[in-house]
Symmetry: C2
Subunit: 269 residues, 2 copies
């Protein structure tokens, strides 16, 4: 599993204040905590108005890179901003995200074409999120055509099939898993990723839905997620699912995460 740590996001009130006050210590703390918890990438999302977004990302990325060696997942609703922020990164990371909406792909793909950057691609377009698996897979095929055009290998793509809210659509999981299985069958080296919060939108005890979702999505072939790696219960279920799905020989990763104190019951003080 490729874990993209989600905690440095200006839409989280405590992080938004840290950004407004240029509180580098708090940002560095979040970067370190996610690194220690086992993140593979640190997502960085400023959530500020567009006029100051690139400058804010420059500062955030600088702070994060002083705190950790992990690569950055550059996160912005504006692909123009994403592209402007790439040069601030010391090593290739992931652009978060493109879709078939507008000129997003034609803005990002030419810039990352001859690099090692990855890219999250959402299965939606200018008409929004397709309501059937078939139409999501059509969007996927259009993305893959663009990837081929710009010679971006499938292994650099993180496809997000888009989970909708279970409270309003009882087929939210099956839509996600069916798209995931179809995509992985066709492109085994491609990555499937997801944010974990959409599926539980509008429900109480959202963590339970998110936890069960990650287990079922991994079963369908999801091999990446944008999540809070410092959430012990979530990370524990992730390692448990990996072991159960036969992807952790002799449960060595599970046992090792436990021994490092990253999952399982906390030792009593």
């Amino acid at each position: 599993m490729i874990i993209i740590g989600e905690k440095i996001n200006g839409s989280i009130p405590r992080v938004g204040s840290a950004i407004a006050q240029k509180d580098a210590d708090w940002i560095a703390h979040l970067a370190k905590a996610q690194t220690d918890a086992g993140a593979d990438y640190i997502d960085v999302c400023a959530s500020v108005e567009e006029s100051i977004e690139t400058d804010t990302l420059a500062w955030l990325i600088d702070v994060v890179q002083q705190a950790t060696d992990l690569p950055i997942c550059v996160d912005s609703p504006s692909v123009r901003t994403c592209v402007e922020a790439l040069p601030f990164c010391k090593k290739p990371g992931i652009v978060n995200s493109v879709s078939m909406e507008g000129n997003k792909i034609d803005t990002v793909f030419p810039v990352i074409a001859d690099t090692a950057w990855g890219c999250v691609a959402l299965l939606c377009d200018e008409k929004g999120i397709p309501t059937t698996v078939e139409r999501r897979l059509e969007v996927f095929e259009r993305i893959m055509k663009k990837a081929e055009e710009y010679q971006i290998d499938p292994s650099r793509l993180y496809i997000d099939p888009l989970a909708v809210s279970l409270s309003t659509d009882s087929g939210a999981l099956s839509m996600f898993t069916e798209a995931t299985s179809a995509i992985k069958a066709k492109y085994p080296s491609i990555h499937i990723t997801s944010g974990l919060s959409n599926i539980s939108f509008g429900l109480p005890a959202r963590k339970l839905i998110n936890q069960a979702f990650i287990v079922l999505a991994m079963n369908a072939g999801m091999d990446s997620a944008i999540l809070d790696p410092t959430s012990r219960e979530l990370l524990g279920l992730l390692y448990a699912a990996k072991a159960l799905l036969g992807d952790d020989e002799y449960c060595m990763e599970f046992i090792s995460a436990y021994r490092q104190g990253r999952i399982g019951p906390l030792a009593k003080a």
Copy 2:
């Protein structure tokens, strides 16, 4: 999901002492707590020497039936004892368990043939637990032949495909889920059940493995489990998985379990 509450089991030290001391209050407390948590059956296992097992079960069953209206799951390694204990039960429950070992089935099936009793059947025989899915399904077919002989409808059977320890067999889950899918495809009305602890035997942080296992087993078609319904996290994941798997319209059961305070974060005192 049909939940068989596992807490009244003499092999649990606190319960063993309560049985030895005929502490009816503690047994009644466990029966009530599991009823309130949402159990459908109360498993009753004496775990005492065979000479006093039937008398002990008579006492336990009496105490449980005074505490709750739920039916009993009569649990003993001895099918002879199970059969002797059935008359103590006010209403039909479940016999736990038979297998193709020895004369277990021929002892139990004739007794429950013309009743509404259910029966747990383990996919093993005198040679132990088969190490391949194919051989487990062979044991299953032999069980179904016996069920047909005694005219026991598949809907009265709780098949336990037997999860082995993941720490020594990385295929433990796939063996379970493949057997489950094959059985459910052939007999849609049959129940699939499992104890949750074997799969995590020998591992640390066992609850995490058990929790991820129940979600993945439900995905494969398991519709019953022998578990501790007072474990909030486990029960919460069970309801979450049910909703995600499209078996809980508008998440009404999930929301209702939350509103009743049975799952989700505990309100702060």
